[in-house]
Symmetry: C2
């Protein structure tokens, strides 16, 4: 049933064609085949045509794995994300993948669900897979020696969205502190004095009024921005106005509920991320509190729905697209030029919409 002649070399359901098959069919040496397929060295035009034809005939696909092994580079980047599903990180993923491709790199993605152990494993696996560099949205704050360059096989790394001060790694973050300050200032400018804060942070069970240890830098900075802006305005912060929650559903709802149930409940709430904004909306809706009227809200992250719902939500825009792009450029820079591009902190800007009531006119 086999076909005769050279056709016997044609692709079957068996092993894919290798460069040897191409060389054989083209009746040249493996080296020559490699030269034309890899597009280097010098080959007679005629020979080149023959080899190309053979390759096409066989449906030859270069084995980049083998090539990588020799070259020591995989043209692959590792992206470790703390939480796929958070709008901001989904966007980061898209931008990282797209910009990496523009540089000829593919991206291996891992999700850690904010778990340190998963993060450690993800990094290890990517190192084993010989990624040329890493972009990491880390959830670790302690036990982070696995991110120490000494344990990174000499592979460059860029932290995205969150820094890890002790390691001195290059990072691309947003100006979280300033973002929170601007948000609080905006509330104050609109006559609010009782301003609450609801924080999503993975490292807590349920909800609590007590600020947990080991916050990631971005959240830490937002909280600090909140407190310092309040202090700067001479406004006291009632502990009842601040809550930390470990999930975006039930605990988040009860966290928001606790704040609203306070004797001296705030008129305004700053939500630490997009999911927390949704939680506030949810609770407000359940209680019949009109956002932008009975309750004011500013969130972080300009999710697609924020501008479209009624009322639209005033947010501190996290410039995640630019951050992701810069992270890739920084990483590629480190890879190709072995030059540490240092760290960048990109400004955040307040996007004014309809969710903050003006108490001065009331």
């Amino acid at each position: 049933m086999k076909q005769s002649g050279n056709d016997a070399l044609l692709p079957t359901l068996e092993a894919p064609a290798t460069i040897n098959d191409v060389a054989q069919l083209a009746a040249v040496s493996r080296a020559t085949a490699s030269r034309v397929l890899g597009d280097y060295g010098t080959v007679k035009a005629e020979t080149r045509t023959i080899v190309l034809a053979a390759a096409a005939r066989l449906g030859y696909v270069p084995n980049v794995i083998a090539r990588s092994m020799r070259a020591g580079k995989t043209l692959t980047l590792g992206l470790v994300i703390a939480e796929i599903g958070l709008s901001v990180f989904d966007t980061a993923m898209r931008v990282v993948i797209d910009s990496a491709r523009a540089y000829g790199y593919q991206v291996l993605v891992s999700n850690t669900n904010e778990e340190l152990q998963a993060e450690r494993t993800a990094i290890r696996v990517m190192l084993e897979k010989q990624v040329d560099g890493l972009i990491v949205v880390s959830s670790s704050v302690t036990d982070l020696d696995f991110l120490n360059p000494r344990n990174l096989q000499g592979r460059p790394i860029v932290l995205l969205d969150r820094t890890l001060a002790p390691l001195g790694l290059s990072s691309v973050t947003g100006a979280n502190r300033q973002g929170a300050v601007d948000a609080v200032a905006h509330f104050i400018a609109n006559g609010h004095t009782k301003i609450g804060l609801v924080v999503f942070t993975a490292n807590v069970e349920g909800e609590t009024a007590h600020q947990p240890l080991g916050l990631i830098s971005s959240i830490h900075d937002r909280i600090e921005g909140y407190y310092s802006a309040m202090a700067a305005a001479g406004l006291p912060v009632n502990p009842d106005w601040v809550r930390f929650t470990g999930d975006a559903d039930v605990s988040a709802y009860s966290a928001v509920g606790s704040i609203l149930d306070a004797e001296d409940a705030p008129t305004a709430l700053l939500a630490s991320n997009g999911n927390m904004s949704l939680a506030v909306l949810k609770v407000a809706k359940a209680r019949g509190l009109l956002i932008g009227r009975a309750l004011s809200l500013v969130g972080f992250d300009d999710a697609p729905w924020a501008s479209i719902i009624t009322p639209s939500i005033t947010v501190v825009n996290v410039p995640i697209e630019e951050m992701a792009r810069v992270a890739v450029e920084n990483l590629i820079g480190q890879i190709s030029a072995a030059t540490d591009a240092g760290s960048a902190e990109l400004p955040m800007n307040l996007v004014l919409r309809e969710s903050v009531a003006d108490l001065r006119t009331a």
Copy 2:
């Protein structure tokens, strides 16, 4: 400055340790080192300890690339997504990545932005990188021979969300037709007779009333469901009620606008995906049309914001998490058992909320 003795073998900023280094430091053969590091064969407990110690000392990380080359498997899956950023695909990504990891696979992700050329390149690159299998959200309808198994190097593939009938590949989709039928039936049950349809489809410039050729299967089926449900109810479809748009912003808005401007404008709109729902909300907001009152809406995809905004949006829920999970299982099945798991169509269910007005009581 070099340290003396064996310490000279310790990791430096130079090349990462190989199995040879480990073997040498442990004073055993490469094979033995490989046995303990790869955890196979039999090694004396004592020897194993020594090797392990040497590996730890050197910070040895196995080179999975080299291992892959020998084994012919990379434990890597390729995920080609038509449009990262669409909530439904972001979710798919998360689930694919997480379930793949549960099986010991990593995921290489590519984004095609619904461009055929990008899709073709992405597949080629992934094949070159020797992924063990592919999950593809394809935007192609024509020119799809690159997805023909004959051109896939024998690598299994599962189509997600969209089928490609002519190729007979295994796929995991939602029951799009039925979903649309249910949505229309729901409108009708609530007394609506003038029901519009606004469709997002990459293969059109701007907006048009004319159904474009080459629709992807999911959209095709939704449209067909719409028309057949209308027909089944004996309801005429005014061509002014149906629009197709190629982007989710300006054209989408004008598409919705066109429909609402029709002389005999519909009271209800079916939006073909989450982004189109947002477009409808946007236009309705701009025109002061209250959703669930002056205009009724049912969308596809149960995005996180859909249940939380006011009014909450009735949607046809695309069971994307389950679809993604099944796709991974199907693919892993094909990889390990070489057994084609066939195709699956998962039911969609209508999630009733507040965006459909009951015209019977009016």
